[in-house]
């Protein structure tokens, strides 16, 4: 399967591990990622709030380039902010003729044009769970991540807003949970999985950001996660780089490695850790990775029949097919 690939600025620098691991898993999964030639920054989360028209023009230039370069109609963005910006631009250009007209003028100046709807923007997670599918991913697993307890962290951008056909539940997404389960790892309960990491608040209001990061780290630690798997460079950076600051501020002692879900996939596929960018994280993942065992944990038996009475029964959750 051939996809247009929009790495975004993060994946070139601080999220190099995300890029490397994405490239590493693409081969066994038969994915061909063709990078958009001459792409530019998506404007991240701020620009759209400050100066709407140039921000949309900036984003749309990437869509126009992708549409022009014969790399297929699907454009994959691994970064959550890039994904949301590209998707948002495509959505609003189609919905708002006034905006489209202004953006068209800007694109024309560069000899470009873009027809909304001609590019299908996907987040990498979406591509993997919907196009590739859990079954094909499971087939590639050679070294299951038995015993590794992972908190799946989606962040706030990818599942929202639902108005733009989010591929997962906006409040309680499950796709990453299921994917990590397929890798053999144990998914821990992580109720804050779709909450904000603070984004660029680290630069604007450190108090706010550190409080948000603390909530997330505490929630993962309370649920005994060995590590947090993220799908977003911003989330990774905040939780990883500011963990020391949180510990210093609140007197805590968290050492929770923050890794990209693609790194875990690569590991389960039997790809050497150094090819997946492990070691680039600030809070080292080495100790956590050593917990991976060759033996599968005992599956929990589920039975409708009641063995022993203790308290009131919980409602039975409907198993999804």
């Amino acid at each position: 399967m051939k996809y247009g690939y929009y790495p975004g600025c993060s994946l070139e620098r601080n999220a190099r591990a995300y890029h490397d691991s994405t490239m590493a898993i693409s081969k066994p999964l038969n994915l061909e990622f063709v990078e958009v030639d001459d792409w530019n920054c998506c404007g991240a989360t701020e620009y759209i709030a400050l100066n709407k028209i140039p921000a949309f023009a900036l984003i749309s230039r990437n869509l126009a380039l992708a549409a022009d370069q014969n790399i297929g109609e699907n454009l994959v963005a691994p970064c959550s902010a890039c994904y949301l910006n590209l998707k948002k631009a495509d959505h609003y250009l189609a919905e708002t003729p006034d905006l489209k007209q202004k953006v068209d003028t800007a694109l024309e100046a560069g000899g470009l044009q873009y027809q909304p709807g001609s590019i299908n923007v996907q987040h990498l997670l979406e591509t993997l769970v919907l196009d590739v599918g859990f079954e094909a991913i499971e087939e590639q697993v050679q070294k299951p991540l038995y015993n590794l307890k992972v908190a799946p962290y989606y962040g706030c951008l990818v599942p929202r807003p639902a108005a733009m056909d989010s591929f997962d539940d906006p409040e309680h997404p499950m796709s990453l949970d299921k994917l990590i389960e397929k890798l053999g790892a144990t998914v821990v309960d992580f109720p804050l999985k779709a909450q904000c990491c603070g984004g660029h608040m680290t630069q604007i209001s450190e108090d706010t950001a550190l409080e948000l990061i603390r909530h997330l780290l505490k929630n993962a630690a309370d649920n005994e996660a060995d590590m947090i798997a993220t799908i977003c460079p911003m989330c990774q950076l905040n939780l990883d780089a500011y963990q020391d600051a949180v510990n210093a501020r609140f007197g805590t002692d968290y050492h929770i490695p923050i890794v990209y879900f693609t790194q875990l996939m690569g590991l389960a596929f039997g790809i050497p850790a150094k090819k997946l960018g492990f070691g680039k994280e600030i809070v080292s993942s080495r100790a956590a990775l050593e917990k991976i065992s060759d033996e599968a944990p005992q599956p929990v038996k589920k039975s409708k029949k009641v063995q022993k009475t203790s308290g009131l029964p919980m409602p039975i959750m409907i198993e999804e097919g």
Partner: protein, 675 residues
Amino acid sequence: MNDKKQIPEQLEKVGVYICHCGSNIAGTIDVEDVAKWAKNNPNVEISRNYEFMCSNTGQELIEKDIKEKGLTRIVVASCSPLMHEKTFREATERGGINPFLFEMANIREHGSWATNDKAAATQKAKALVNGAIERVVHQVPLEKIPVDINPATLIVGGGIAGITAALELAEAGNQVYLVEREGTIGGHMAQIDKTFPTLDCSACILTPKMVDVGQNDNITLLTFSEIEDVEGYIGNFTVKVRKKARCLIEELCTSCGICEEKCPVKVIDEDYGAGLGYRKAIYRAFPQAVPGYPVLDKDNCTYFENGKCRACEKFCPTDAIKFDQEDEILNITVGNIILATGYDLFDARRIPQYGYGRLPNVFSSLEFERMVNASGPTEGHIVLRDGVTEPESVAIVHCVGSRDQNYNEYCSKVCCMYSLKFAHLVHEHIPEAVVYNFYMDMRTPGKGYEEFYHRLLKEGTHFVRGRVAEITDVGRNPAEEGKLIIQSENTLLGKQQRTPIDMVLLSSGMQARHDSEEVSQLFKMGCGFDGFFTERHPKLAPVSTMTDGIFIAGACQGPKDIPETVAQAGAAASQVAKLINQGTVMMEPVRASIREDECSGCRICNNLCPYNAIEFDDEKKVSRIITALCQGCGTCVAACPSSVIDGAHFTNTQVMAELKGLLWDVQPAPQKTPA
């Protein structure tokens, strides 16, 4: 029925009447102009306009004109035929001509009400009137078909609606079949602890009625049974009922309950117990179940799993257990059917951010009904999921799945009141507990309902106006640790707030049964997009359906509380009693017929008929319509490749003449020259 009449041999004398309907029609349509214009048609003898054609004077006008001017056909242009076709047909008949020589043009709903453009509305009225005139001259006299009403009635669903309707009819001396899917009648009302606003014990007022049903000789009670097929029409339905095997010989069972006591299997009671309690593999939903025989749950029985156990069989003093019992198929014939299939509670698991099924101390409303009931799993003690700890604070969340574009857009009507009842019950059981109601709007219309709300205000319930965004167990500070936190808006303060709480009750709304669409197809009657059954008229015929002889009662028609349900059940029963008393009904003679001498015997129509009303004569090799079964839908008429099936009152000639009349002012399109 003769479709060969192409050109009327002599001109008919048509009377045309244009109704003003006050200003409803005359305000938009130039009625005088339409009436004057209609006279141009050579078949029209007289054309008038009048203020209210449906009034006595209006009707007398028609009668008088028929007698004095010798009219042979009548056209009234007014409202929808649903409203007054019957009125004018009767006036036509009183005037002395066959009522099927009358035709109605709907210039109100299809004209004056649809636009403000006077010229366009007048032009359309002319077309509609002209269509009716052209059609009516081809109409032929028809006679209504009398149908005998079988006095037995089928009632589907044994909740409070079905029970009420069954008793009403049976106590008046009529035969009733009451079919219920579960092992006992009682429905949701049997699960509920108290009824609002009077706080009657729900079971105490319901069980005497259940006993009456069980003891009434006129009621044949078929529990643990489902309808498989329905054939026929008003007065003459044949219904196939599957009586599922209870693995028990009912005649021998004394309802002693020993089998239940000895059964070693304990499973979560998902139906009656709302998932909060346990039951055995052979069980009665509750001790007052009617009938009192248990049901054996094959899916969970050890004997059906591995051939062992048989404890119930061993201990049964009357040898009533019969493991190899098979389902029984019964064919019953009835004249009328009342559907009282009730509702499903909205499944709060669909809103994951409310945590139901994930967070132990979030409870559904039915779970709470069972919990607070003295005969429930906690013997009426309000406790957390651990089974022992009393909550210090309880939050009741309104509008779960209701008034929400993501789930059900409608207001479920009963939840505000039952939420208030919950608050009262918590105050009563745990006086020191803090109770919150998170509501959007307080909706308490009903006798004594608003007063109940005021009572709760005095009892000290905290009311927070705002939609709950999330219920989480992740605390942000020590005060929130170990609690459930309700993140909500407080629209009266204009603020977001986080409220730490021990226990949450989700007030889910009512929604249509998950299989209501299949049921509506089975009974060939309508259901809306939301799955609730469609009544014939929302104001004036709330318990009838568009299918004659099929009635609806209770929450299967839309969310409603117990008093409304009981009132509807009574209304449905009286509709049926009326038909039983009449003994016969006159059916529209709109039926298909096959001209046998021209039928090629291709049998295409045989399988298309949705009512199985076409038989094939093997000797003559022709198809034949069974008039009693034909519903006049016209499917076969359209499908017949030789055009030898006539639909009475909808013959090809009549329909084509009407179309021609409607399109009187349309110029034929210029011939296109091929490129």
